[in-house]
């Protein structure tokens, strides 16, 4: 296994990393915008219905960012033909799914 193969793998991994970074940043900015709007509204809104909707929306967007990140990893590993790590990432997604399911059950 020559250095050529390894550095190609590293370059591909780095591209994956940078895409993850961009997605995370976008998600967090969206969440922050919703939270700022929600909080600002909360300070003036007596009823608190609209502001709560914005706040919960922002929090959901925030919670989505790591999930999105795992999904992107699944796609990234699959594209590289790395079956083992694709399965690993899918397993992580599976556990997150179980948590969501457990939460829904309690509701």
């Amino acid at each position: 296994m020559g250095l050529g193969v390894t550095s190609r793998r590293s370059a591909a991994l780095e591209r994956l990393e940078r895409m993850l970074g961009r997605i995370l940043r976008a998600g967090v900015l969206l969440a922050a915008a919703l939270l700022v709007a929600g909080l600002a509204l909360w300070l003036v809104d007596a009823e608190r219905t609209a502001s709560h909707r914005l706040l919960h929306g922002g929090l959901f967007a925030l919670m989505a960012t790591p999930v999105l990140r795992v999904i992107v990893s699944v796609v990234g590993f699959a594209r590289q033909g790395d079956r083992f790590f694709t399965l690993v990432a899918l397993a992580v997604l599976g556990v997150l799914g179980v948590t969501a399911w457990a939460a829904v059950l309690r509701l």
Partner: protein
């Protein structure tokens, strides 16, 4: 009163986010004591808020350190199986424990970690030449301490997995990022360089928190305006933290982490 609470929470978030980003530990170790001892929130509400701010820190730090060869995505993904299972378990278990029990547990865990950190302080990781094979989980990175590109290998994966599961439980029960446990273990026992361990851990704690927080959400433990305040404060604080951490040498990071933990443990034992 409500507005004052939000202001306090924002300030706490800034501090927690700053130090969290600097050390790659998610900041929950500050935020939970502040919320329970400082503002008097019930433990579960504080944990829920802390978990959400951990997600914020995690995503911000990861976005900032991505593409620099510091995050070991493969190692992170493997360990995340263990941490997410731990988070799920911890989150469900927390439903059965009382405020007092959790506060004591918090102090105990923090004290234990502080001791581990102080004991492990001065270890530089064994690295190999740039052209060496990193194995299926290791990697290469530009070591500032050594001034060149080095290769590292991951050792004792079972230890890393076991500790990741424990860290996940800690996260689910106490609202800590869990990176507090992972980073020292990865660095001292598993051969991962400090900066890589911190960056990879910062990535992992977000996923771990998402494996737990839905349970708290469903249980009604999320106070939206306080959570929003904490998250926004943490986002502001972690920006500053990332800027500083790029300029701090690895050894001083460990010292700072140990000092922080000792202070927190004392506080939680005294007030919990």
């Amino acid at each position: 009163m409500d507005v004052l609470h939000v202001a306090l929470v924002v300030a706490g978030g800034v501090v927690a986010g700053g130090i969290g980003a600097l050390l790659g530990i998610g900041g929950g170790v500050f935020l939970v004591p502040l919320l329970t001892l400082g503002i008097g929130l019930p433990f579960r509400e504080a944990v829920a808020i802390s978990l959400l701010s951990v997600i914020a820190t995690s995503s911000m730090v990861t976005a900032a350190t991505a593409g620099r060869g510091l995050i070991n995505v493969r190692l992170g993904m493997v360990l995340e199986i263990a941490t997410t299972l731990g988070g799920l378990t911890g989150g469900l278990t927390a439903l059965t424990l009382s405020h007092g029990t959790l506060a004591t547990l918090f102090g105990a865990v923090t004290a234990l970690i502080a001791m581990v950190m102080l004991y492990q302080r001065n270890e530089l990781v064994a690295v190999f030449a740039e052209t060496a094979d990193p194995g299926w989980l290791g990697g290469r990175f530009d070591s500032r301490d050594r001034g060149r590109l080095v290769t590292y290998r991951v050792r004792r994966l079972p230890v890393a997995l076991g500790m990741s599961f424990v860290a996940g439980n800690v996260s689910g029960l106490l609202g800590l990022g869990g990176g507090i446990l992972k980073v020292p273990v990865l660095n001292a026992w598993c051969g991962v360089p400090m900066r890589v361990a911190a960056a990879t851990s910062a990535l992992m704690i977000g996923v771990t928190a998402v494996a737990t927080v839905p349970i708290y959400y469903a249980n009604g433990d999320v106070v939206p305006h306080l959570a929003a305040g904490a998250v926004l404060g943490v986002l502001a604080g972690s920006r500053a933290g990332v800027w500083v951490s790029a300029r701090a040498p690895a050894k001083r990071l460990k010292l700072l982490m140990a000092a922080v933990l000792v202070a927190v443990a004392v506080l939680m034992f005294a007030g919990g």
